[in-house]
């Protein structure tokens, strides 16, 4: 899982390069690459609230303060869990690398254990904090892992979109295919449908609010709906700040233990 991308790429969208890209003959592959490789700023911080809603309508809320920084070939991020009370002061740090095939480095600090533990990052199909988002869903899946096909162009919620179908190259992957609606001039995946291994509709991601902050498009409100189990996860982003010069010392064992 690449939390740096969760913070830096999934949520932030640059308008840079749109003119050039618009003049090219766009394929499904190219469109998804443009979404994945978009410019995101040097660093970012925000407060993330995840609301997990089950089929009976019961809600559970997780609040996180997150920081991310792009070092070129390396991205670092750190998350501090603010609620619920029993996970408060837990922190999670991730260093991810552009180098192909190189796994992320990850650590977790559990206040009850009072130590920083290195953990394995080989869990891209795991669900993030009990939500309906897997780590792959949050932006970690590289475009080369799927075959992308431009199905059509159509309007969605008043936005001109490309509709892309993506099929995994890996056999037995948790999704048999996904279909993404990408906004033409913003390179945001505005809607995404996920189909399970039996090719039945599993989940739908809907982006409901986005805005331009500090010159970058930011997704502020999105909902992932598991249609089979009727779960929902609402992701809300607040206090977004970009390019504020986050100190390198933020991404250290010292800060994991100290918290914010």
């Amino acid at each position: 899982m690449k939390l740096a991308k969760i913070i830096m790429m999934t949520l932030l969208v640059s308008a840079i390069g749109i003119t050039v890209l618009a003049q090219e003959k766009l394929t499904g592959q190219k469109i998804i690459e443009n979404v994945y490789y978009r410019e995101t700023g040097e660093d970012a911080t925000s407060n993330l609230t995840m609301t997990l809603i089950n089929s009976r309508g019961n809600e559970r809320i997780r609040e996180i303060k997150q920081f991310g920084k792009d070092y070129g070939k390396e991205e670092k991020s750190i998350m501090f869990f603010l609620s619920p009370a029993d996970v408060r002061n837990t922190s999670f740090m991730n260093w991810s690398y552009d180098e192909e095939g190189r796994d992320d480095d990850q650590w977790i600090y559990l206040p009850a254990l009072k130590k920083v533990k290195r953990i394995s990052s080989d869990s891209k199909s795991d669900y993030f904090m009990g939500s309906d988002f897997t780590y792959d869903d949050l932006g970690d899946r590289h475009p080369s892992e799927d075959t992308h096909k431009l199905l059509r162009e159509e309007k969605l919620n008043g936005e001109d979109c490309y509709v892309i179908e993506s099929l995994p190259k890996e056999k037995g992957y948790m999704y048999s295919r996904t279909v993404t609606w990408v906004i033409k001039d913003k390179w945001i995946g505005m809607k995404k449908e996920f189909y399970d291994e039996d090719e039945d509709h599993l989940k739908t991601l809907s982006v409901e609010k986005y805005d331009k902050i500090d010159g970058y498009w930011v997704i502020l409100h999105s909902v992932m709906h598991n249609v089979q189990k009727d779960h929902r996860t609402i992701m809300n982003l607040k206090n977004v700040e970009i390019n504020i010069g986050i100190d390198d010392g933020m991404f250290t064992e010292r800060m994991m233990k100290r918290g914010i």
Binding site: A85, K115, K117, G130, S131
Partner: protein, 411 residues
């Protein structure tokens, strides 16, 4: 003493109520813990109510935390105290922490090798939660940071030993001595003076390839050694009993630990060399019944996941160097730990199995546990502690098999 502590806690709570909530952060939990033995007449092994409070305040580069706790038992006096009470001073490249604090070192899970700074509370053997098994110690801790490296020095002015169970506790272990004995605690205390203070130092690195720690300590052995004094029967002229005198000894330790990721697995190791540890003898001819030996304690472990199933295994060996057959401890003591854990229902239900397995005596402690987060911050836990075998560090508690439930509300 108890009345005084209650007053302090009441004052702290009052302070919270009159203070601006933005300044003072309040958190904690209330918990009910009920355990029953599965052997004999299913007596309750523990009925405990806990209240644990954290008060935190920060202003600029200064931070303060106090963590009072209260244990209420059905059959014992109310127990109150401060788990931690310290202040932090943050500077650009170093931090200073002063006060009562829990300090945890090393990479091992559930095993104490280089993790010897904070003494342990063994009144309920290894069963309490990790946050409760370590006692806070009044100390001064300095951390200096340089890139991904950390240098840490801890000075403990007053020695605090391991908390042992009362004599009438089901967790009490009687000295295993071949003759009748009596106890004399006259040498058991380490006097509170500067020359008796303890010092610990650690260098740690957290990097992409590997995390490691190197440590050194000049401390006291938290566990006492039972020295013996032979008592000669005046009539027979033979030794017919002994006087056992528990005493703590100085201990010098060098150690280290590491963890690294190889593919989908995380490998961990930890080891320490203890210079001058005292061991007890079964040979009555040995002067005062003890012998001083150097000692190694090390561990290798791996964390691995199969789908959602998280697995962890550790092999631990304790080795007495220059061994003599008359020592009570084995030359090598081998232990394995195993953990399997899995989350269900969007991480609200967790099923876990943790076990210690003693390879020398074929004994074990098996701890299945089920935890359900009924709503956020409200947790119900049911579990069991099963001791297998007749002897060894786990088998000796064979009659203490128990089932338990804990209900915890966090705020």
């Amino acid at each position: 003493m108890a009345a005084k502590t209650i007053k302090i806690i009441v004052m702290l709570v009052a302070l919270v109520s009159v203070n601006n909530a933005q300044d003072l952060f309040l958190s904690g939990y209330a918990r009910t813990y009920l355990g029953a033995l599965t052997t004999g007449e299913s007596e309750y092994s523990i009925i405990q109510n806990t209240f644990d409070l954290n008060l935190e305040h920060s202003r600029g580069n200064v931070y303060f935390k106090v963590n009072p706790f209260l244990y209420h038992y059905s059959d014992k006096d109310l127990e109150l105290g401060f788990r931690q009470a310290y202040m932090d001073l943050y500077f650009d490249s170093f931090d200073l922490r002063i006060g009562k604090q829990q300090i945890v070192w090393g990479k091992a899970d559930g095993v104490f090798i280089t993790d010897i700074v904070s003494p342990k509370d063994m009144r309920e053997f290894l069963l309490p939660e990790f946050s409760e098994i370590r006692d806070g110690v009044t100390s001064l801790k300095l951390n200096y940071y340089s890139g991904s490296s950390t240098f840490e020095v801890v000075w403990i002015p007053v020695f605090t030993p391991t908390q042992m169970p009362d004599d009438n506790s089901i967790w009490s272990v009687k000295p295993d001595y071949p003759l009748p004995y009596s106890l004399d605690y006259s040498n058991a205390d380490v006097k509170d003076k500067l020359s008796n203070s303890e010092i610990f130092a650690k260098y740690s690195l957290l990097s992409s390839a590997i995390d490691f720690e190197l440590m050194a300590a000049y401390s006291w052995d938290d566990d006492p050694t039972f020295h013996s004094e032979k008592i000669i029967n005046q009539t027979t002229g033979m030794v017919d009993s002994v006087m056992l005198k528990p005493e703590h000894h100085r201990l010098s330790t060098l150690g280290g630990s590491f963890s690294t990721t190889i593919g989908p697995a995380v490998f961990r190791g930890e080891g320490a060399f203890y210079n001058g540890k005292h061991f007890q003898s079964i040979n009555p001819l040995i002067a005062d019944g003890t012998d001083e030996k150097n000692y190694l304690h090390y561990l290798l472990g791996v964390d691995y996941s199969i789908g959602d199933l998280k697995l962890n295994g550790q092999f631990i060996q304790q080795a007495i160097l220059d061994y003599n057959d008359y020592l009570m401890n084995d030359e090598f003591e081998n232990t394995v730990t195993f953990l399997a854990a899995m989350d269900f229902l969007r991480e609200t239900l967790n099923i876990e199995l943790f076990s210690y397995i003693g390879l020398n005596d074929g004994d074990a402690l098996i701890r299945p546990k089920l935890t359900y987060d009924f709503v956020d911050g409200f947790q119900i836990m049911v579990g069991a502690n099963l001791f297998i075998g007749d002897e060894g560090q786990f088998g000796r508690f064979d009659k203490n098999d128990m089932v338990y439930t804990k209900i915890k509300y966090s705020f």
